[in-house]
Symmetry: C2
Subunit: 168 residues, 2 copies
């Protein structure tokens, strides 16, 4: 972590804690969100030095994976969402073209064996570096929203068909 | 992003896109989760070069803030959660003592004025560097969990009282 003269931080450095193993080998054939990836199974291989940190995680049915979008090349502040035809600011979308290439996926945890965390609903490319895991609970992480932005206008059935992208 | 000989990545570098301004000036008096921070208002000051990326964000009632826990000093793989009396792996908790000091908070968006994003439910320390904003929608991000781990055993009223920590 580097600080500027005024004390503010100008960069942060993270080290992957594991790697994501998934059936998705191509970006263009990877589901765009976990809810479109039902049945897409894979696992996270946690590096041995961090495996102790998984204790108790198996008691949760859903977990957040936070990862580095390692194949993202270009940053775009204005993007056209995959399921929408109007341009939006990148922070109003889940596009990978964000200034910091951080991905967030909420997946179903199926089981843990040693340092392998097996999951379903996987919308992440094979070989993606994992930065963090956090437990998801309905009490802490579920909300009744009043406005869902441009996503409100999308037909859920059509989104499910187009958003899956794997052809399966 | 640095690669090792086998092609895997051993570090990633991010640059803050803004800074979080909040009423919380001390870690020990900061609410531990957004659901315990009703009425704690503040704003995110997005740096001017990224402000265009906010376009359309005002149409969402809830947003994820992803930030760097800049005051986290020690990494602990086993922690005792604030609201629980048994030790757990850090990835089964939301403790700041994680290997990569990444924070995730789901907050209510109140309004956007220029490059300032005003929010409620703020459980983040003043001066925290912001790494990313993502929109939250009930369709994409809300789940019916079947197991909520050690958090199931906590009395919601007691959690609300203890988890707020600000004394207000």
């Amino acid at each position: 972590m580097n600080a500027q003269k005024d004390g503010s931080i100008n960069s942060v450095v993270y080290h992957p804690i594991g790697i994501i193993r998934s059936p998705h080998k191509e970006g263009s054939k990877t589901p765009i969100q976990p809810i479109y990836a039902d049945g897409c199974r894979g696992f996270v291989e946690i590096f041995p030095q961090y495996a102790e940190g998984l204790r108790g995680l198996e008691d949760f049915s859903h977990i957040f994976l936070i990862f580095h979008l390692h194949l993202r090349k270009e940053v775009k502040l204005i993007v056209k969402p995959y399921l929408h035809d109007k341009e939006k600011g990148v922070f109003a979308t889940r596009s990978p073209h964000r200034p910091n290439a951080i991905g967030l996926s909420l997946v179903r945890l199926e089981k843990i064996e040693g340092s392998r965390v097996y999951v379903n609903d996987l919308d992440i490319l094979d070989g993606t570096p994992l930065l963090d895991i956090k437990p998801y609970t309905k009490e802490l992480d579920s909300r009744l929203t009043s406005k869902d932005g441009w996503i409100e206008g999308i037909d859920p059935k059509e989104a499910r068909r187009k958003g899956r992208r794997t052809g399966t």
